[in-house]
Each structure stands twice: as structure tokens, then as C-alpha cells.
């Protein structure tokens, strides 16, 4: 048995080394954001933010455009996550609980739609959104993002719904629950991890999306955070790149995502892992 414990410990050590490599870029972003320019322009990198300050952050936030972009990103993301979960959930129940004509066509459509390259559609999407006067509005990207994220969310939730035995629900109905009641009190709680996982996926897609936002939000007053960050880098690059401020801006864009992840991390991990029928 000791041989097993030793190899387990060695693998554990390997895991920690890999973890350090994987997290290094994230660490480096935060580290550089705290360092003064003198340290960043030296040819010997400073690996610890000793003597660091928040000056880069005040510099990056100075003109207040960050907060406008933050508001825009939050609005779009909330709309996309909410609509995506409802739409995908209904469709997932339909395809995993029913056999009906056109089901296969729908499943194929979902899989094919997954593949439509966003870069090939942005011109058409721009034409469509501008023709109804919704450029620079929250609604334009929300519609496009929901449509792009829904297929994968359906596919993901379909797996979770199919993993819950239908006879559990029927047992509930035999015990006197209505079909809706049986669904809400038996299936829905078992599905919660799947909904969390799908919601996180939708959140990430909407929060990080760049190409469609670039096209649908041409005005500087209606930018999402990724657009703001790229604009910031470009403005900075016209001089010598101010890596401290760029990294501070990147950290600001990444922080809401990381905070969100830390809150749901346990549930997300168990959501992806369990989905189990607990006796």
C-alpha cells in the first residue's frame, strides 16, 4: 500500500506544479498591475509585487469610461443568462422527455447552428440590427448572444434532464403530485446543478464576447468591457505601451468574472460532477 501512497503524493506534487504553471498568467496580470513603471521597464522581471501600489488602477479608471462599460456588460449578461436558461431548459425537456415528429431535425439544427462562424455572420447581423435602429443598444447584442449560446445550453441541459430517471417523477405523480408539481419538486432540484453549469457558460460567453460587440456597438459611449479594454490597449500603444495600466485594466475586466466564479465554484464543480440520484 505504501507504494500507492507514494505515487499518489508524487502525482499530487505534479498537480501542484501544473496548477502553478496554469495560474501564472493570471498571477502575472495582477502582479504587473501593482508594479510601478520603473519595475516593469527593467529587463529583470519583478516576480513579487513588493512595494507595489494601486496607482495603475487610478490611472486606468481616471476618465470613468470603465463604469459605463461595466454597466453595459452587466445589463447584457443578465439578460442573456436569464433568457438562455429559460429557453434552453424548455427545449431540453422537449427533446429529452418527448419523442415527436421533427425532433431529429431540431437536434441536427442545434448541432449545426453551433458551428455557424460568428465572423461570417457579423455583417448580416450588423445589417439586421441597424435596420431596426438598435445599434449601440443593449438589445442588439442580447439577441445575438442568446441565439448563439442557446444551442450549447440546450445540448448541455438535455444531458442533465436525460440523466434524471423519468420514473422518479412518475412515482411522485402516483403519490398524488400533479405532473407540474412532480416536475418542480423532484426533477427541478436534481437539475439545479445543470442549470448552474449552463448559467455559468452563458455568463462567460456574454461577458467575454468581442467580435459581435465590436460590430453592434460602434459608439464609444456604448462599449462593453472587452471593447473598452481593447480601446484602452490601443490608446496606450500609441505611446510606449504602459503595461502597468494595461494590466490594471485587464484585472478590472477579469475581476467580476473571477469573483462570480469563486461564489459558484463549489456548486459549479459539484454541478459538473454530480447530478446524481441520491437515494
Amino acid at each position: 500500500m505504501t507504494r500507492i501512497t507514494v505515487s499518489r503524493a508524487l502525482l499530487g506534487a505534479l498537480a501542484i506544479v501544473i496548477a502553478l504553471i496554469w495560474v501564472f498568467p493570471v498571477y502575472w496580470m495582477v502582479n504587473s498591475s501593482l508594479l510601478p513603471n520603473v519595475a516593469l521597464q527593467s529587463f529583470v522581471p519583478t516576480f513579487l509585487p513588493i512595494g507595489g501600489s494601486l496607482d495603475n488602477y487610478t490611472g486606468a479608471l481616471a476618465d470613468g469610461s470603465f463604469f459605463a462599460a461595466l454597466g453595459m456588460s452587466i445589463s447584457i449578461t443578465l439578460i442573456v443568462v436569464a433568457f438562455c436558461l429559460v429557453f434552453a431548459f424548455l427545449a431540453a425537456v422537449a427533446i429529452s422527455r418527448f419523442r415527436f415528429r421533427g425532433r431529429k431535425a431540431f437536434v441536427i439544427a442545434v448541432l449545426v447552428v453551433q458551428m455557424l462562424p460568428a465572423e461570417g455572420l457579423f455583417i448580416a447581423q450588423y445589417k439586421m440590427v441597424s435596420s431596426v435602429g438598435l445599434l449601440d443598444s443593449v438589445i442588439g447584442p442580447s439577441i445575438i448572444y442568446t441565439a448563439s449560446v442557446v444551442p450549447f445550453t440546450i445540448w448541455m441541459l438535455r444531458g442533465f434532464v436525460a440523466g434524471i430517471p423519468a420514473d422518479l417523477e412518475e412515482a411522485g405523480m402516483m403519490d398524488g403530485l400533479s405532473r407540474f408539481g412532480a416536475f418542480m419538486r423532484i426533477t427541478f432540484p436534481l437539475l439545479a446543478p445543470g442549470l448552474v453549469a449552463s448559467g455559468v457558460y452563458a455568463f462567460l460567453q456574454a461577458w467575454n464576447e468581442f467580435t459581435v460587440a465590436l460590430v453592434l456597438l460602434p459608439s464609444e459611449s456604448a462599449q462593453t468591457l472587452p471593447l473598452w479594454l481593447r480601446g484602452f490597449v490601443q490608446a496606450s500603444a500609441t505611446r510606449e505601451t504602459d503595461w502597468g495600466q494595461v494590466m490594471a485594466a485587464s484585472t478590472l475586466v477579469a475581476v467580476p468574472v473571477i469573483v462570480f466564479f469563486l461564489i459558484v465554484q463549489g456548486r459549479l464543480t459539484s454541478g459538473l460532477v454530480s447530478g446524481a440520484v441520491k437515494g
Binding site: P25, V26, L116, K127, M128, G163, S250
Partner: protein, 325 residues
């Protein structure tokens, strides 16, 4: 057997009093009223038609029109049928871009799958403490917005003050001489591939790990007692059981890696915008924005769609087969 992203639960010993529960049977549902599934699909179908259906149709029509700068300002677009496609097909530059994109996509997707599966197996083999550390690290990488991640990686690969050249120089015998990674197309695409792999592995690792935790311990122990080695257990039991997860994840990687637009655009911001550094995404974007040639851009987009479906059709078919079981 029904197969899904989260594979059917196989009861672990002690977790459930009953022996392995049968996989859900939808037969009982077939008898239900046939109207309800259609009602459930309305919202999803509606949003897909508005957000993607209409643009695709517009795209197909436009790809058969002469739609350039003059049409942007209201001149009617004449139909030219397949002229745009013929012009593209006879243009050597397109085929170079197509070849590069497919190669980039396959190499990156396979590497991502291998690393992700490796990390999932590692997570499955180690104690809770190190596993949590690895999971948190992967979650942090996964959670990084693409644009933010790109700025960091560009900074890391900076030729003069970047940490990567510094760390490589620290290895005895290695001298980078302030190597400019973004100067030649080969290293440019290697850097792009490393960044994409770094971003994509967490999703693969977590999905595969979720699959692994569903592999019955009883079966594994039985196999071990019967003398199956670790390698045999991997190929004979683990891989077949998590195959559905792997298939879906690999399909998605291929699709995603074929449209690495943001990453390539931002690397070009830092390096060179010359066409040698283009993959299909940036190629189309430049056709659309620089030359304002929507007809040609639409034609390439349709081509991209065809390539994607051809590449992944095998997987769609196998997914459909599993869906039917």
C-alpha cells in the same frame, strides 16, 4: 442506452441502497399529448430564427450578389450567382488560408483534448487537497475574459521585457536573444496555439473529470482483480465510458478553434497585420471591413460553414446515433 454530456449515473457502492438504476426510459412519455413538445420549443426556435436564421439566409443571398462599396450606399446589388465563389476558388491565397486554418484547428484541438484528458485523469488519481489547488488554478484560467487573457499573454511574450524570454534565458544553455515570437508566422501560430490550449483545457478537463467520477469503482476494482493493468483499464473501461463526453468536447473544440478571431486579431495588434498571419476569421473580417466587399466575405463565410460541417460531420452523426438510442 441514453448518453449525455453528464453521463448516466452509475451508483457507487454505499451511495444508494438500490443496485444500478436503469437508464431513463422515455417510452412512457411517448404516449403523452403530442402538442406540448412543440410549445416547449417555440422560444428557442424563435430566438434562433431571429439571431442566426435570418443572418444566414441574408449571407447566402449576399454571397451570390455583387455587394461592394456602392451597394453600401444604396445601389441595388445585382445577382451574379456563383461569380464570387469562382473568383475565390481561383485565388491561391484563399487555399493557403484554408489549409493553415484547418491545420491550426486540428493541432490545437487534439493537443487540448490530450492535455485536458490527462489533467482529468490526474485529478481523479490525487488527494483532495492538490486536486482542489489544480481545480482552482484551472477555474481561474477558464474565467479569464479572452481579451484580458490576450493582453497578459502578449505581455508575457514581449520580446524585451516579457517573462517568457527571461525564464527561457534562465535555463542553462538557452539564449533567446530577445526573440520576437510574433515576427515569423510559424512562431506566431505556435504562440496562438499555446494561448488557445491554455484557455480551452479547463473546460475539457472538468468535463472529462465529471465523466470519470461516474465510472463505477466496482467495475474498476473487478477489472483490477482480474489482472487488468492501468493502461488496459484506461483503454478498456475508462475511455469507452467517457467517450460520449470526449466526443462532444472534441467536436466543440474543433468548432471553436476554427474561429479564433479575437486571439488572432489581438496578436496581430501586437505583431503584424500582414496577410501571412491570417486565419479564416481575420481573412473574412479584412474582406468585409477593409475592402467592404460583402459579397466575397459572405462567400468565404459560407465556405467556412461548409468546411466546419465537413470536419465535424462524423461527430454529429455519432452524437445523433447516441441520441437515438
Amino acid at each position: 442506452m441514453s448518453v449525455s454530456t453528464a453521463p448516466p449515473v452509475i451508483d457507487k457502492p454505499g451511495r444508494n441502497a438500490k443496485p444500478g438504476r436503469p437508464v431513463p426510459d422515455s417510452a412512457t412519455y411517448r404516449r403523452r399529448k403530442l402538442r406540448s413538445p412543440y410549445l416547449l420549443l417555440i422560444p428557442a426556435v424563435g430566438i434562433l430564427l431571429v439571431g442566426l436564421g435570418y443572418p444566414v439566409i441574408w449571407q447566402i443571398i449576399t454571397s451570390m450578389q455583387e455587394y461592394g462599396l456602392q451597394q453600401q450606399f444604396g445601389k441595388p446589388a445585382p445577382f451574379v450567382l456563383f461569380d464570387n465563389y469562382i473568383e475565390l476558388a481561383t485565388k491561391g491565397s484563399l487555399w493557403v488560408v484554408v489549409g493553415k486554418s484547418i491545420l491550426f484547428c486540428l493541432v490545437t484541438a487534439i493537443a487540448t483534448l490530450a492535455v485536458g484528458l490527462g489533467l482529468a485523469l490526474l485529478m481523479n488519481a490525487i488527494a483532495k487537497g492538490p486536486r482542489l489547488v489544480l481545480q482552482v488554478a484551472l477555474l481561474l484560467a477558464w474565467s479569464m475574459p479572452v481579451v484580458a487573457a490576450m493582453t497578459v499573454w502578449i505581455w508575457l511574450f514581449d520580446r524585451r521585457r516579457g517573462a517568457i524570454n527571461y525564464l527561457l534565458d534562465a535555463i542553462p544553455g538557452v539564449e533567446t536573444n530577445r526573440f520576437n515570437w510574433l515576427e515569423s508566422p510559424l512562431t506566431f501560430f505556435i504562440v496562438a496555439s499555446i494561448i488557445v490550449i491554455w484557455m480551452s483545457v479547463p473546460f475539457v478537463a472538468f468535463s472529462a473529470y465529471a465523466g470519470l467520477t461516474q465510472v463505477s469503482e466496482e467495475v474498476m476494482e473487478a477489472a483490477q482483480l482480474d489482472g487488468a493493468g492501468a493502461w488496459q483499464r484506461f483503454w478498456g473501461i475508462i475511455l469507452p465510458m467517457i467517450r460520449p463526453v470526449i466526443a462532444i468536447v472534441f467536436l466543440l473544440q474543433i468548432i471553436w478553434d476554427l474561429r479564433v478571431f479575437t486571439q488572432i486579431t489581438m496578436l496581430q495588434d501586437a505583431g503584424s497585420k500582414s496577410s501571412e498571419f491570417d486565419l479564416l476569421g481575420t481573412y473574412i473580417y479584412k474582406l468585409g471591413t477593409k475592402s467592404q466587399d460583402f459579397g466575397m466575405a459572405s462567400a468565404v463565410s459560407i465556405l467556412v460553414l461548409a468546411i466546419t460541417i465537413a470536419l465535424s460531420w462524423f461527430y454529429i452523426r455519432s452524437l445523433l446515433k447516441e441520441d437515438e438510442k
